[in-house]
Amino acid sequence: MRHVASDLVALLDGALADEERARVEAHLAGCGPCRAQRDRIAAAIGFLASLPPPADPAPGLEERFQARLAREADRPRGLLSRVPWRIAAPLAAAGAVAAAVAVAVVRERRAEAFAAEHLELFERYELVASIGDVADEDAEVVAHLDELEGRR
C-alpha cells in the first residue's frame, strides 16, 4: 500500500485532478495514519486562515506614497535613465565594449612605450623573450641588472 502523504496538502488545497483526488480519497478511507496526517495539516491551514491580516498602515498611506513618487521623479537622473531601455541597453553594451578596447589599447601603448624607452636594456640582456610578458617588477629587475651583476 502506497501512502499519500505527499498529496495531502494538494488535496486540501483542491489542487488535485479528479482521478488523483479519487485515488487519494480511496487510500484515506482505509489508512488511519494518513487520515491523522491530513487532519493535522487541515488544522494548521485552519489556524493560518484564522490569523487576522497584519495591522493596517497608518492613515495617509496613499499621500505618503505619492509624495515619495514625486520626490523620486524630481531626483536628478543620469542620461541613460532618461533613454528608453531598448536604446539604453545596446548603448550601455557598446560603451562597455568600447571601454574594454580602450583599456587594451592603452596597455599595449604603454608596453610599446616602455619597450622603446628600454630598448638598450632589451638588446643588451636577452632575458626578455617577449615584451608582452614584461611586468613592472620584471622591468625593475631588468633596469638594475647591471647593479646586480656588479655585486657578484
Binding site: 493535522r40 490569523l51 495591522a55
Partner: protein, 192 residues
C-alpha cells in the same frame, strides 16, 4: 485583449493617465503592505517595501504587456523585492538581533473583542507563524505566503515565481507540513 480591470488601468497609465496609477495604488497598496509584512515583521519597513514595489511598477510599466495578469506582474515584482530584502535582512539580523514589530503591534493581531486568553493565544499563534516563516527556505516562504495569505492558486504562484506547477506543489507541500508541525501545540488548545 485586456484581461482584467487592473491591467486596463496599467495600460491607461502607459498612455499617460497618471490617475490610473494612483487608482492602482489605492486598490493594491494596503494588500502589498500586508504581503511585505510577512517578510519583514516590521510595519514601517513593510510600508517602505510596498512603496519600493510600486516605484518599481511605475518604472516597469512601459514593459508591461496586458497578456499577463496585472496581479501576477505586481506580485512577481514584489516577490523578487521581498526575496532580496530577506537576503539583506539576514545580514542585518545578524548585526541587529530582535528586529521586528513591537509587542503592542502583535497585540493587534489577536483581534478586537477577544478575551484575555484568546488574545494571549492569538499572540502566541502569530509568534509561532512568524517563527515558522523565518525558518522556511526563501522560495518555500514566498510560495507559502502567496498560497496561504494571498489565496493564490498553484498555477498563479507558478506564474509569479516563473516556475512549474509541480514545483509549486512541492514548495507549498513542504512549507505546509512544516506549519502543521509548528502549529500542532495549538490543536489541543494548550499553547498560549
Amino acid at each position: 485583449m485586456v484581461p482584467d480591470p487592473d491591467a486596463a488601468l496599467l495600460v491607461a497609465f502607459q498612455g499617460g493617465d497618471r490617475s490610473a496609477f494612483r487608482t492602482l495604488f489605492e486598490r493594491h497598496g494596503r494588500a502589498m503592505v500586508a504581503f511585505c509584512h510577512r517578510f519583514v515583521r516590521d510595519a514601517s519597513r513593510a510600508e517602505e517595501l510596498a512603496q519600493d514595489v510600486f516605484l518599481k511598477l511605475h518604472q516597469a510599466a512601459p514593459r508591461y504587456r496586458p497578456t499577463a495578469r496585472f496581479r501576477t506582474f505586481l506580485y512577481r515584482i514584489a516577490a523578487n523585492h521581498c526575496l532580496n530584502e530577506l537576503r539583506r535582512g539576514e545580514r542585518a539580523a545578524r548585526a541587529e538581533p530582535g528586529r521586528g514589530d513591537a509587542p503592542e503591534e502583535l497585540d493587534l493581531l489577536a483581534g478586537s473583542g477577544a478575551t484575555p486568553e484568546e488574545s494571549a493565544r492569538g499572540r502566541a499563534l502569530a509568534r509561532a507563524v512568524d517563527e515558522l516563516l523565518a525558518r522556511l527556505p526563501e522560495k518555500q516562504r514566498v510560495a507559502f505566503v502567496l498560497c496561504r495569505f494571498e489565496g493564490m492558486s498553484y498555477e498563479e504562484i507558478a506564474a509569479v515565481l516563473r516556475t512549474t506547477v509541480p514545483a509549486v506543489k512541492s514548495l507549498v507541500h513542504r512549507a505546509t507540513v512544516a506549519a502543521a508541525e509548528a502549529l500542532a501545540p495549538f490543536a489541543g488548545g494548550e499553547a498560549a
